[in-house]
């Protein structure tokens, strides 16, 4: 995973329009030029999964594209690109957001957590573990977004019930499972998250 101050090489950003240059070195010129449009690229700072990243991004870059194409965090998926499916869900300052519907420049200064940032070391996050245990997935395409939405949903709701989980996952579509096992996993994951919290 290219992250942290050690990475100062220029990383290519694959975009549908060709290759642009993004600098991740904080000492680099403050404003890179977008080679395609010849406009200066805004410099932003994102703290992604705990690591600060200084990035020159084109104004029109979506947060999901910066995460996937610049930072190679491809766990965040693009399902619809029309704000409907929730596969691109990440945490933006602790709240769930569809990263296909946020400009990277809007997130300047924010803390972002992606699915890659959820587990600690080799230990899965309780919500990930619950999805594994309850088989809350089939093809797995919706799963990163589902899990990120679920963690944000239950974070401050120890009492959440099935109706609350179904209402709270309205922004996430799954084409495989029929949702039963997803709901079971979220309820169980919530219980574990809150009992671990209570137990210190």
């Amino acid at each position: 995973m290219p992250s942290g101050p050690g990475v100062s090489a220029e990383l290519p950003l694959a975009s549908q329009n060709g290759t642009r240059t993004l600098r991740t070195d904080p000492k680099a010129a403050p404003h890179a030029i977008d080679q395609e449009t010849e406009r200066p690229m805004p410099e932003i700072t994102l703290t992604v999964n705990g690591t600060p990243q200084n990035l020159d991004v084109p104004a029109n870059a979506l947060l999901v594209d910066v995460l996937r194409d610049t930072l190679n965090l491809t766990g965040t998926h693009i399902g619809c690109d029309t704000s409907q499916c929730g596969a691109c869900t990440v945490h933006l300052d602790g709240r769930s957001a569809k990263s296909c519907t946020v400009l990277a420049v809007q997130a300047d200064g924010a803390h972002i957590t992606t699915i890659e940032g959820l587990q600690s070391g080799a230990t899965l996050h309780p919500m990930q573990e619950a999805f594994r245990k309850h088989h809350g997935l089939q093809c797995g395409f919706c799963t990163p977004g589902m899990i990120m939405a679920a963690v944000a949903l239950v974070e401050d709701k120890p009492e959440i019930d099935e109706a609350g989980v179904r209402h709270g996952l309205e922004g996430n579509l799954c084409r495989c499972t029929g949702y039963q096992n997803i709901v079971a996993a979220v309820l169980d994951g919530a219980r574990t998250m809150h009992s671990t919290k209570a137990g210190g």
Partner: protein
């Protein structure tokens, strides 16, 4: 899909934002981006400049001022839904905010953005019209009855910015929504309120020219605030939106049903 490029401007004050807009000519403000970004992806808007209201201090937050509740334009739907002040003083408004879209949309979308956009199926227009709120802009205040001006149109000037919305606290109010099963927008939504200025009934999702009041229902409810009092009062099916999701007659029927449910919930 991607978005055609634009100049991104993040002003620190309302005055600078307006100057930037007027200088750019072809510009759009961005608030939560939950409408603007999808619209730009579809190439239905291709502004040369996008001006972010997110850097202007003082545009979000909820304040109780005497007998009214003032909500900053940049306040997210989720914060309106969760606010103890809103839940205590205008629970119908908190309830409505919690029904908008889904959690991710509610975490980004703002009240000002929703009102400026004036989608005929959006929820907040029913709240603003049905509660008799006042829209405060960078230059003036606009009564709800003067604000909405047809589909996706408002009485805002080209570069005018919504700063806040001031809601009078009603004696009672309730919002009933029949959500479109896929988009979650209102197939029809009705806000009913009773307060110092009388009774208001406002319907969204239904009218071909956007959100509207139902004066016959308001008059009947002013005499007797019961669901029975508005039994049989109908809105013209020909004036309703008719599409693949619901006919005009179906929407007209829903306006009556939802209005009666809303009244029954608070009478």
């Amino acid at each position: 899909m991607g978005i055609p490029t634009f100049d991104y401007i993040r002003p620190k004050s309302l005055g600078d934002a307006r100057k930037a807009y007027d200088a750019a000519g072809d510009a759009r403000y961005i608030a939560g981006g939950q409408t603007l970004l999808p619209v730009m992806k579809q190439r239905l808007a291709q502004p040369a400049s996008v001006i972010d209201l997110g850097g202007i201090a003082g545009l979000s937050g909820i304040q109780v001022e005497g007998k009214s509740l003032t909500i900053g334009a940049m306040t997210r739907h989720a914060d309106v839904a969760a606010s103890p002040d809103v839940r205590r003083l205008i629970p119908a408004l908190a309830h409505l905010a919690g029904l908008i879209g889904d959690p991710q949309v509610r975490n980004r979308g703002t009240m000002g953005g929703s009102l400026a956009n004036n989608d005929p199926s959006a929820d907040y227009p029913a709240a603003v019209l049905g509660l008799g709120a006042i829209v405060l802009t960078d230059s003036r205040s606009i009564a709800a009855d003067e604000f909405f001006d047809g589909l996706f149109t408002t009485s805002l000037e080209e570069s005018e910015i919504i700063r806040a919305i001031s809601f009078p606290v009603p004696e009672r109010a309730h919002y009933e929504k029949f959500a479109h099963p896929a988009s979650r927008f209102a197939l029809v939504g009705v806000m009913v309120s009773k307060g110092a200025e009388g009774v208001r009934v406002a319907a969204t999702g239904a009218g071909q020219t956007g959100v509207f009041r139902v004066p016959e229902m308001e008059a009947a409810l002013a005499k007797s605030f019961t669901a029975a009092a508005i039994e049989g009062i109908t809105v013209p099916a020909d004036d309703m939106i008719a599409d693949m999701h619901a006919s005009g007659a179906y929407r007209a029927q829903l306006v009556g049903v939802l209005a009666r449910r809303a009244v029954a919930a608070i009478s």
